[in-house]
Amino acid sequence: MLKLAIKDLKLMIHDRRAVILTLIVPIALISLFAFAFGGSGKSNDTNPISIFISDQDSTEVSRNVISKLDTLKSLDIKLLPLENAKEEVKKGSKVAVLALYKGFKDSVESGKNYPMELFYDQSRQIEAGLLQQVLFSNLMGIIGIKSIKGNIHKMIDEENPGLSKKELGEIYTKVDEQIAKFEKSDKNPDKSFMGMKATPMFSTPENNLGLVQAVAGVAIMMLLFSVTGMGSGMLTEKEEGTLKKLLYSPIRPSSILFGKMTSTIIVSIIQLTVMFLFAWLTFGLDIFIDVPSLIVMILSTAFACASFGIFIASIAKTRKQVESFSTLVILIMSAIGGSMVPIFIMPAIMQKIAVVSVNYWGIQGFYDIFWRHLPISDVMIRVAVLLGIGVFMMGISIKNFKKNILTIA
């Protein structure tokens, strides 16, 4: 029994593919998911939330508030005019824009509700929720309580001109204690006395965010798996001798490659279309919000994914190599690109890394259409990147195929 076990272990150690699947793939995925969900185990490590601030008041008080917020590690602040900032948030470049309207200083000084508003990307609700907490607690510290206390003290001074400093001091202490008690109590009406309004950027979304994420994320990941299988068809042809026979016929070797690529792209388009139709019929995903944009996105995503699949097949020499290598690469791409975990809950560093993934550009493009409702001109940026990825991968694949596959000797 022991001999059999030792023999099996020896065989496994010599099987590079088995070792990769048993150890390397899980290690790679654990690392990726750990990063995706926020880090290295130190719970106090926080990634700053990026926001715009639009200072329409432009007073000493508003500038003071902004500079204090800027000192916070939990925030990454950039100043921008409100309309520009809203456009950027809509495009997904930052989570929200905090607008400090005119009259902000006067309101602080008079203890009235502050004219400020937080416009946030509803597709990044988790980040927006965290942001609201950070802003409430810090703004309260910076201006809120100080302002309230200051106003009450001032009022007490004015109403009681005959009281001594000692008597006034005792009254201030009691008032401050009551304010602190109120702050902690349930009667504090959602801290809204500060007057900060939180407004989602997409007020009437037709589609459920989770549904868009699920359909786009899974569709692209599964597409990558199927196109890699198709791409490896060239290796199947080589192993079964039909490629050699194709080379005997009066067609150029490049035609064989392009034929294989064309069939892969067509299947990719069909697969994506069927998946969106299924989501429409079964889950009610409104896919007709912007049909031209959707068509362009499906075509470009299909092209990029097909090129990626063919690229994976082109760097391998056997079908087995494709199978083991593609599983690893696609899982990694899908994890960092947002197919498994939405990008917006990943740390900033992972969000930056995500741009190397085909999944990221595809998913964000479908977000633009189904969730952000961006015009086709904005979607075209994602389309251009996907086409660029496709052309680049295709170029390398052609080179690799000529080197690895079309050579008989």
């Binding site: 080379l247 005997y248 016929s249 009066p250």
Partner: protein, 311 residues
């Protein structure tokens, strides 16, 4: 007779192995040419170069006057290639396979369909044309494999050991088909290491070994080059290893010595055999059996290389 295939000084190296050593031969129109040699002799390399999928290091090939290197597409239209391996799509029917492979030669739909029907009939597989290839026997697959190379009516048919691993019935049918095609005027280049195939089918034979053509001609011409009409094989009762040198000295015309047999070429076995047996008797060797064979390609190959064709 017009030369339809001209192979000149063809050389090919794989790393440090010389697969072809500047071989030259030419084939006339309507000729059935056999390239006979053992495994690794250079037959498949030659076929791969002629069929354009392998570039030679040196030399050139001309097909019907067209230079293969300069005009590969035109040359490809003139050749049909039947590789060693069966290269068909198992999930498609025989008809669908033929439609696909024939379609690569840009034949019109009607011409292609007619050719497919004719070829299926020639191969005796019309009734099974709509069955998937995966349901076919090895021999039937081979026949469809051959059919797929005939659809565009090539001027030259290149066949690389097309009967490897098939049943005798399918082999015979393939021979009959090839003889029929040859009769109709097709030029055929046929590689094999089965000398009986070469003897039955070929007008002219090139014997290739270690990347060189060591003899070439019709069967009769090759027989004459051996300077012998027969071979005498003497089997001994015991091992003759310790007498090998003595035997070689005694009989200058030994072409092969084994553990317990020798092969001697002979012009007239009737006259020479008693003398040979007397000498063997003097060496105190006990003869178990004597065979006298007419000289064939096998013995010719043995004579030329000192090795059997299937060593």
């Amino acid at each position: 007779m017009n030369t339809i295939l001209e192979v000149s000084n063809l050389a090919k190296n794989y790393d440090n192995v010389q697969a072809l050593k500047e071989i030259s031969f030419s084939i006339n129109e309507n000729e059935f040419y056999g390239l006979l040699g053992p495994n690794g002799a250079g037959k498949t390399t030659t076929i791969n170069i002629i069929s354009t999928i392998l570039q030679p290091d040196v030399g050139y090939v001309k097909i019907n006057g067209f230079d293969l290197k300069k005009d590969p597409l035109n040359c490809k239209k003139m050749i049909g290639v039947i590789p060693q391996e069966i290269a068909l799509y198992n999930e498609l029917s025989a008809y669908e396979n033929l439609l696909f492979w024939g379609g690569l030669y840009k034949l019109s739909a009607n011409v292609l369909k007619t050719k497919i029907d004719e070829t299926l009939n020639l191969m005796g597989l019309t009734k099974r044309k709509n069955d998937k290839i995966k349901t076919y026997s090895g021999g039937m697959k081979r026949r469809i494999n051959i059919a797929s190379a005939l659809l565009h009516s090539p001027k030259i048919l290149l066949m690389d050991e097309p009967t490897v691993g098939i049943d005798p019935q399918s082999r015979n049918l393939i021979f009959e088909v090839l003889e029929e095609l040859h009769k109709e005027g097709m030029t055929i280049v046929y590689t094999t290491h089965y000398m009986e195939e070469a003897e039955r089918l070929c007008d002219r034979i090139g014997i290739i070994d270690h990347g060189e053509i060591i003899a070439e001609g019709t069967l009769d011409e090759l027989r004459n080059t051996t300077n012998a009409n027969e071979s005498i094989v003497i089997h001994f009762e015991v091992s003759i290893n310790d007498k090998a040198e003595l035997l070689k000295k005694s009989f200058g015309n030994i072409i092969n010595i084994n553990e317990n047999s020798i092969t001697i070429s002979s012009k007239n076995s009737g006259k020479e055999l008693p003398q040979i047996l007397t000498q063997i008797n003097q060496m105190r060797l006990k003869v178990h059996q004597v065979e006298i064979n007419k000289v064939n390609l096998e013995t010719m190959f043995l004579n030329l290389t000192g090795r059997k064709l299937r060593d």
